[in-house]
Amino acid sequence: MIGFPILSLMLLVPLVGAVISLVSDRKTARLVALAATLVDFVLGVLLWTHYDIGGAQWQFREHAAVFAGFDWKLGIDGIALMLIVLTVFLMPVCIGASWNSIEKRAGEYYAAFLFMETLMIGVFAAQDLFLFYIMFEAGLIPMYLIIGIWGGANRIYASYKFFLYTLLGSVLMLIAMFWMANAAGTTDIPTLMEYDFPPQAQTWLFLAFFASFAVKMPMWPVHTWLPDAHVQAPTAGSVILAGVLLKMGGYGFIRFSLPMFPIASAHFAPMVWGLSIAAVVITSLIALVQNDMKKLIAYSSVAHMAIVTVGLFAFNRQGLEGSMVVMLSHGIVSGALFLAVGVIYDRLHTREIVRYGGLAINMPYYALFFLLFTMASIGLPGTSGFVGEFLSLLGIYKESSLIALVATTGIILGAAYMLYLYRRVVFGDQKNADAAAMPDLDFREWAMMVPLAAAVLWMGVYPESFIAPMRKDIGTLEARVAIARPKGDADVKFGGKTPAAVAATLGSAQLKGAK
């Protein structure tokens, strides 16, 4: 499979763009940034179209032993592919969102974003344990600068909190990685995914990785950095934070925790479920009382990510596939919602919900798009949000109906806070004269909204395009974790069937479920 090094090229293009932006003025820098992200998007589409569905597990592999201690080793499976596609899809939108709103130090701004893109693609494409860690950690620097330099009033506190929280989470993961590399004698991620660590060690390793991914995800109760970071970050920063950075946590679970430590994962699954349903209920209720639009969406992100963790730790195909779809969908939808907030923030420079109202009258197209994304966030059938949440909840229902019951309240609460937000901002009287005078979407905003809306509908109507590349990898993962799968309350408990017969029934039921 070693052919044209397309993954390295995808890493290089934004990096070169970053260096050029750094020394350019504002107008040149944003053009360079747009060009670089669009080129990367085209490469991402090529990657998708050339990906051989059902072919080798790892494709587009590259290997160069240029470092000591770790290797430059890249390669993707279907899961990584979809997350890379999500990244390169959102990046041009981010650049578009910053087009006019970033006026000071634009060169550095676009350089930070492009550098960030390189690192995000690197995280998903890395096939070496330590290369992954370097990419994973390095993202802290540009994000720290983005929040700290171009953020809102309380940006410095938010940037510190973001940096130190995530750093503390991930340093222990590094120690765990040393232990793994030492025990398994390799740093190759595909090999490690099939390596059986002793069960006792798995517990410690799982906890070390969990500390990192739970903060990144973020899971309740270590989510508190997220609302601060979101509220203070510039619009594009929020888009990339919600759209891609949070997905690194979910990707970490699916790439490391589950396949490498299946026994410990099963052991800790009830803890993950507990934290997740707590997050669903608590953060949804918190979202309900927010006055700040960005903060509301930030809390809704925590709730949605909790659905992801519930699905991942359901240990079955529906749960795993559903979680992946939720991640992709949430990446697009929350990005779009932050963008929608950004559009009116650019006009009125406030995120206070009460300062708006009746936008449907003067901004009808804006209201339309906002409605679509709101519905997608709630999980209305036909939008991307429905597919993933349905599958995830179905997956967890097979494990524990009680957890599924509580997790499903997230959808009801989600509808409550999102519709309440929508009503206050878009419907009602035009009680504020300045909000009533705001013009509707301009061409630039149309150009950002349309692709996002199209993606939301595409994923809602025909999710197969997105699930197909991942199906085989999810199947491999499901088989890998099957040995440790906790017995769910939906499993047949009585009757004279042998375990083999039960397994056969279950297997066929799962196949049906997948179709």
């Binding site: 240029v66 470092f67 000591a68 201690g69 130090r105 550095e108 330590f130 860690y133 370097i134 990419m135 950690e137 390095a138 802290l140 620097i141 720290y144 600068l145 700290g148 330099i149 940006r155 410095i156 940037s159 510190y160 940096f163 130190l164 750093l167 503390l168 340093v171 222990l172 590094l174 120690i175 040393f178 232990w179 590399a181 030492n182």
Partner: protein, 488 residues
């Protein structure tokens, strides 16, 4: 014949000592007017000495270690690696010093000579294979360093730094000497090989344990490891900036290399006896270095605490007690020397309109807008010292923690790395001042061309490009570390 052979073996030291004596005469006749010429010659002498040290390093672990003067001196790959770093640190000091002292009209002809003498002493330290050679090298270096700290005679802070350094340094030397005498008393020899044989691997006698503890305490002072770190912030702050540059690089390398050789070679059969001391000093240094730095507003004091913090991380590599740990320490040292050079070249460039040094961090506010490249270089150094990938400073931490985990010191590694997050806080604080705060326009000075080149080179080394050097650096450090384990 043996004497001639020995003289030939220590050619780098021969070159340094004869040059010092000749240049001393030049300085006596030429006075301070000749200082620039002496600096240039001294720099050339360091380059020559470095060239003479290279063959021992490239010969690698396979090359027979050359003993000289009846086994008092050992010229192996380890000594060569440390010497190269020492010469780099000394050479950089010679480059940055003249411009600095010229502003005070205080460039003295003795300055380059003292640097050369200190370099000679440090070369002897790292090649020492006997407790007495060790002590001679250490004192030669220390006496030169005391004078260097106080070289700005008219400046009260400089004199204070020199006095503090001298008093505390003498105390440490005394402790060290007492430890040496105890060790000699209980083993009957001062040679490292002899001590290792005499101590064996069995239980350690109480007297020998005392000797070991005193020797380690004396050396801990020299590397400014907690709890013997108190002098560091005061001396770093008070000494003239080029001298601080020197203190942060060369003597640190020499003392750490010496500590490695004493622990792993002389006491190599008794790792259990010193390991706990090293672990204690390591964790304490990391925490004190991190917590102490938080309240500092003076950039030189901040860097002093940063050095205490970094020494703590390096000691984790020593605590591992393996060749991998020693090799990791050497790589860390190399990266640390470059980081320090970059940091202090920036410090030297921080001057107001009148040419007075700016040391307050608050006055660097918004430097990224007035001096973007200088600020970027300092930010790279800060993130690198904090060990955040993809900057090269991460690699040193990576290697020492990896060595600790391989040596089954998982708890030490976990505690150390968790404490590194505290350290990240104050490095972030500097970046915050540089990038997030409003511009103060305090910094006006322009850096000299040579400093600019140094800064560019060291920043590139610390950037992700540094990773391309990892195989080369790893090989050199690996063969140097293997030389320490010649007896195994």
């Amino acid at each position: 014949m043996d004497f001639l052979h020995s003289l030939f073996a220590v050619s780098a030291e021969d070159l340094l000592s004869t040059s010092v004596l000749v240049l001393l005469l030049v300085a006596a006749w030429g006075g301070d007017k000749a200082s620039r010429a002496i600096s240039i010659v001294a720099f050339a002498v360091l380059v020559g000495a470095a060239a003479l040290a290279v063959p021992a390093l490239t010969a690698g672990a396979g090359g027979a270690a050359t003993s000289a003067f009846g086994g008092h001196i050992k010229l192996d790959a380890f000594a060569a690696f440390a010497k190269l770093l020492i010469y780099v640190g000394s050479g950089v000091t010679l480059i940055v010093a003249p411009a600095y002292f010229d502003r005070f009209k205080a460039m003295r002809a003795e300055f380059p000579l003292l640097i050369l003498l200190a370099a000679l002493g440090m070369g002897i330290m790292v090649s020492a294979n006997d407790l007495l050679t060790l002590y001679i090298g250490l004192e030669l270096n220390s006496l030169a360093a005391y004078v260097l700290a106080a070289i700005l005679r008219a400046d009260g802070r400089s004199a204070e730094a020199g006095l503090k350094y001298f008093v505390l340094g003498s105390l440490a030397s005394g402790i060290l000497l007492y430890g040496i005498s105890l060790t000699y008393g209980f083993t009957g020899t001062t040679s490292f090989d002899g001590i290792r044989v005499a101590l064996g691997t069995g239980a350690l006698s109480i007297g020998a344990t005392f000797g070991l503890v005193f020797v380690l305490a004396g050396l801990a002072f020299k590397i400014s490891a907690a709890p013997f770190h108190m002098w560091t912030p005061d001396v770093y702050e008070g000494a003239p900036a080029p001298v601080t540059t020197f203190f942060a690089t060369a003597p640190k390398v020499a003392a750490l290399a010496l500590l490695m050789r004493v622990s792993l070679d002389a006491f190599g059969g008794q790792p259990g006896a010193w390991q706990q001391i090293v672990i204690f000093a390591s964790l304490l240094s990391i925490v004190i270095g991190a917590l102490g730095a938080i309240g500092q507003d003076n950039i030189k004091r901040l860097l002093a605490y940063s050095s205490i913090n970094n020494v703590g991380f390096m000691l984790i590599g020593l605590a591992a007690g393996t060749a991998a740990g020693a090799s990791a320490m050497l790589v860390y040292l190399a990266i640390y020397v470059v980081s320090s050079v970059a940091a202090f070249v920036v410090v030297l460039a921080l001057r107001d309109e009148a040419g007075n040094a700016i040391e307050s961090i608050a006055q660097l506010g918004g430097l990224s807008r007035t001096r973007p490249w200088l600020a970027a270089a300092l930010a790279v150094v800060m993130f690198s010292l904090a060990g955040i990938p993809p900057l090269f400073g991460f690699w040193g931490k990576f290697l020492v923690f990896q060595a600790a985990v391989q040596a089954h010191l998982v708890v030490l590694a976990a505690l150390g790395i968790a404490a590194s997050v505290i350290g990240a806080f104050y490095y972030l604080k500097v970046v915050k001042v540089l990038y997030f705060d409003d511009a103060t326009d305090a910094v006006q000075g322009r850096e000299e061309l040579a400093n600019r080149a140094l800064l560019l080179g060291s920043s590139l080394f610390l950037s992700p490009l540094g990773y391309l050097l990892t195989p080369w650096l790893g090989n050199l450090a690996g063969s140097a570390a293997a030389a320490l384990f010649h007896f195994a």
